[in-house]
């Protein structure tokens, strides 16, 4: 039972840790499917994390915080679109600039507003996303009723009830939003006219242009969706996973999401799988540090590096080839 409980707990934290990856990964999916490479996912998440925490701290409302986070991320998205769509600049360089801009501006503004060394005040109460308890799940209410800690009640529950209570129930609402985004993204991309055009603009923009559909408009739409999703991802980090913003709190998650996107070969359901896998790696690294497999010790750094190593292997095409959208990274010029 103990091992099983541990397993469930690790899976539970996998879901929590996979959520920001998944949101950012889907964000990148829209952008890259439309032919706009985005290595600025990290920066957009970071900016959103700061503004959501800052506004939530000032107003005491996490929903206003979420909106502010999305708005901040959208501003950076607009900048990326401006540079890479309107002015046909290098999308990769623009992404690099956005990452630095976010990393500098968040600390600068945080220091100027809160004077706490580049962080926001801790969030509590309405300033955070609370966990959504499902009906009949073991939660804080049962603990109050019986007067015993939740962990004790959990260890006594039967297996389905435990899975239901620990694994499925009790996450922040944004977690469910993230996982619902997966079928929604699939539906939008593969079952709607907008999705067809969006994918077409990433493969052959000239054909879309010939059909009389605006390439620029579609690409801006994709970049905007990317901004919204990165905004939710950042807000989740600062107001649900943790209580407040700290410097560089995204800690490379934007790049792991990018890795997951390649790992998933730009497909929504596979993106969920990849993000869960990378989330699991993070959860295991967090819980066990060095893992002893009967004499062979796997150091924690291997777990840290594994998402990146796996991505390089996939990119190398040794395990199925990852082929990006054909027009990815290329600015569209109407007449050559």
């Amino acid at each position: 039972m103990d091992i099983f409980l541990t397993l469930i707990q690790v899976l539970d934290s996998t879901i929590r840790l996979a959520t920001p990856l998944l949101l950012a990964c889907l964000a990148g999916l829209y952008s890259e499917r439309a032919g706009i490479f985005d290595i600025g996912l990290e920066g957009k998440m970071l900016m959103a994390a700061f503004f959501s925490a800052a506004v939530a701290a000032v107003t005491g409302s996490v929903w206003l915080g979420l909106l502010a986070g999305i708005a901040a991320s959208l501003v950076l998205s607009a900048l990326h679109g401006f540079a890479s769509i309107t002015f046909r600049g290098n999308q990769l360089i623009s992404g690099v600039a956005i990452n630095f801009l976010a990393s500098g501006m968040t600390v600068l503004i945080a220091q100027s507003w809160f004077k706490q060394g580049g962080r926001t005040p801790s969030l509590f109460g309405q300033g955070r996303f609370e966990s959504a308890e499902f009906p009949y799940a073991i939660g804080p209410e049962d603990a109050e009723l019986t007067g015993r800690p939740v962990s004790e009640l959990m260890s006594e529950a039967n297996v389905p009830h435990l899975v239901y209570s620990e694994l499925l129930s009790g996450h922040s609402i944004l977690v469910y939003v993230a996982f619902l985004m997966v079928p929604l993204t699939w539906w939008i991309l593969f079952r709607t006219r907008f999705g067809l055009r969006l994918r077409a603009v990433g493969e052959n923009p000239a054909a879309v242009d010939t059909a009389g559909v605006s390439v620029v408009g579609l690409r801006y739409a994709a970049v905007a969706i990317c901004g919204i999703l990165c905004g939710i991802a950042g807000a989740y980090l600062a107001t649900a996973l943790q209580a407040g913003f700290v410097k560089e709190m995204t800690a490379g998650r934007g790049f792991i999401a990018l890795a997951a996107l390649i790992f998933a070969k730009w497909r929504p359901w596979h993106a969920m799988g990849a993000c869960l896998l990378f989330g699991l790696l993070q959860a295991v690294a967090l819980r066990f540090q060095n893992i002893d497999l009967g004499g062979v010790v796997i150091p924690v750094q291997v777990m840290d590096a594994l998402p990146y190593i796996l991505t390089v292997v996939i990119l190398a095409g040794f395990v199925g080839k990852a082929i990006p959208p054909r027009a990815g990274g290329e600015p569209y010029v109407k007449e050559r």
Partner: protein
């Protein structure tokens, strides 16, 4: 016929981009309630007002020359090496191994060996992404980003589990022996009655960096290989038609790039810290991108841009010391420079091109 005179392309556009970045930075400083003029004053006196300040400015500039050259060489082959950070980390590992595991009689021999070690390790770290790009078409930007993270994890492992001296809690190697300590500017330029550069970390590697600038210039514009790299960067199909192998150029350009990024370690690891610590590169690999973009991938431009960023770094540290402006202001300026000189290049270029065309019509 060219749309613009060459001087406009080489001088005017970078200057205007820099001006835009400066104006925006001033607005940022104003927005956080500080005085931009006062800030510039502080930065100039702090970074350039004394030999001490210059000692720091040139120390930072040395790092940025190496990483800037690294990015520039790759740019000439139209490759975007974003992995300078990881390559510089590995370069540090190479330097540490050379300095710790071999008994050197004199620093000069040690410097040559350490430089070779740093270049070798840096190049090795660039080799896999280069091979994957050349042979398997894996996007070099993504693989080099991944290799930065893998390098960080690898270095962390090496420092915590392998190279950390017994009984030490700090994830760092032991101090390098006295014999391999490089001469600093203080010991090189001070006389008995006049001590200059007191306590500043600038050291002899600055001159190695200058040599590297000359070497890269000679390589790119005076050798057959450099010609091939530039030809490949201009047009892959043209280069193939001329019998230049894309695979060879991609790999060679990336190896040179990685070696240059790795070389940075003789400055920060051997010259300054005199041991290898975690995060010894402090983002210098990424600043190389801004430096190369600003310097238009020319070694002389890289040199000037590196001095500018050295000034910004030292000036930024002074600002953080004397005002409530955090060091991160420099990161913002760096981002703006990358944005304007790199991504928004066309925003500056298009109106200028129109202007020059109009002027030409007027005079004709």
């Amino acid at each position: 016929m060219e749309k613009m005179p060459k001087w406009a392309d080489v001088v005017l556009i970078p200057v205007i981009s820099l001006l835009l970045a400066t104006i925006l930075s001033a607005i940022v400083i104003l927005a956080i309630g500080e005085d931009p003029i006062e800030a510039v004053n502080l930065m100039v006196t702090g970074a350039l007002g004394s030999t001490y300040g210059w000692g720091y400015t040139l120390y930072y500039a040395t790092n940025f020359i190496f990483t800037g050259l690294a990015v520039a060489v790759a740019f000439h082959a139209r490759l975007f090496n974003i992995g300078g950070e990881g390559q510089a980390m590995l370069g540090g590992l190479g330097v540490a191994m050379v300095c710790l595991y071999v008994d050197w009689p004199h620093w000069s021999i040690a410097l040559i060996a350490a430089a070779l070690g740093a270049a070798l390790f840096g190049a090795a770290w660039a080799a896999i992404p280069a091979y994957l790009q050349a042979k398997r078409g894996s996007h070099i930007v993504i693989t080099t980003i991944m290799f930065n993270f893998i390098a960080a994890a690898f270095l962390n492992y090496m420092l915590v589990n392998v190279m950390r001296p017994q009984g030490s809690q700090d994830p760092a190697t032991a101090r390098f022996p006295e014999a391999v300590h490089l001469p600093t500017f203080q010991s090189m330029f001070s006389s008995a009655e006049n001590i200059v550069f007191r306590g500043a970390p600038a050291n002899i590697s600055f001159f190695v960096a200058l040599l590297a600038c000359v070497a890269v210039w000679a390589l790119i514009w005076r050798t057959r290989l450099g010609y091939e790299i530039r030809a490949y960067g201009h047009s892959e199909t043209g280069a193939v038609y001329a019998g230049i192998s894309p695979v060879r150029i991609t790999i060679v350009a990336m190896l040179i790039s990685g070696a240059l990024a790795g070389l940075m370690a003789i400055n920060n690891v051997m010259g300054e810290a005199e041991r290898l610590v975690l995060n010894s590169t402090e983002g210098a690999g990424f600043i190389g991108i801004a430096v190369a973009l600003m310097g238009r991938s020319h070694p002389f431009g890289v040199f000037l841009a590196a001095i500018l960023f050295g000034f910004l770094y030292q000036g930024g540290a002074e600002l953080a010391l004397w005002t409530s402006i955090p060091r991160e202001l420099i990161v913002v300026i760096q981002a703006l420079v990358i944005l304007f000189t790199g991504a928004l290049d066309n925003m500056v270029r298009m109106p200028l091109e129109k202007l020059f065309l109009a002027l030409r019509k007027g005079s004709a």
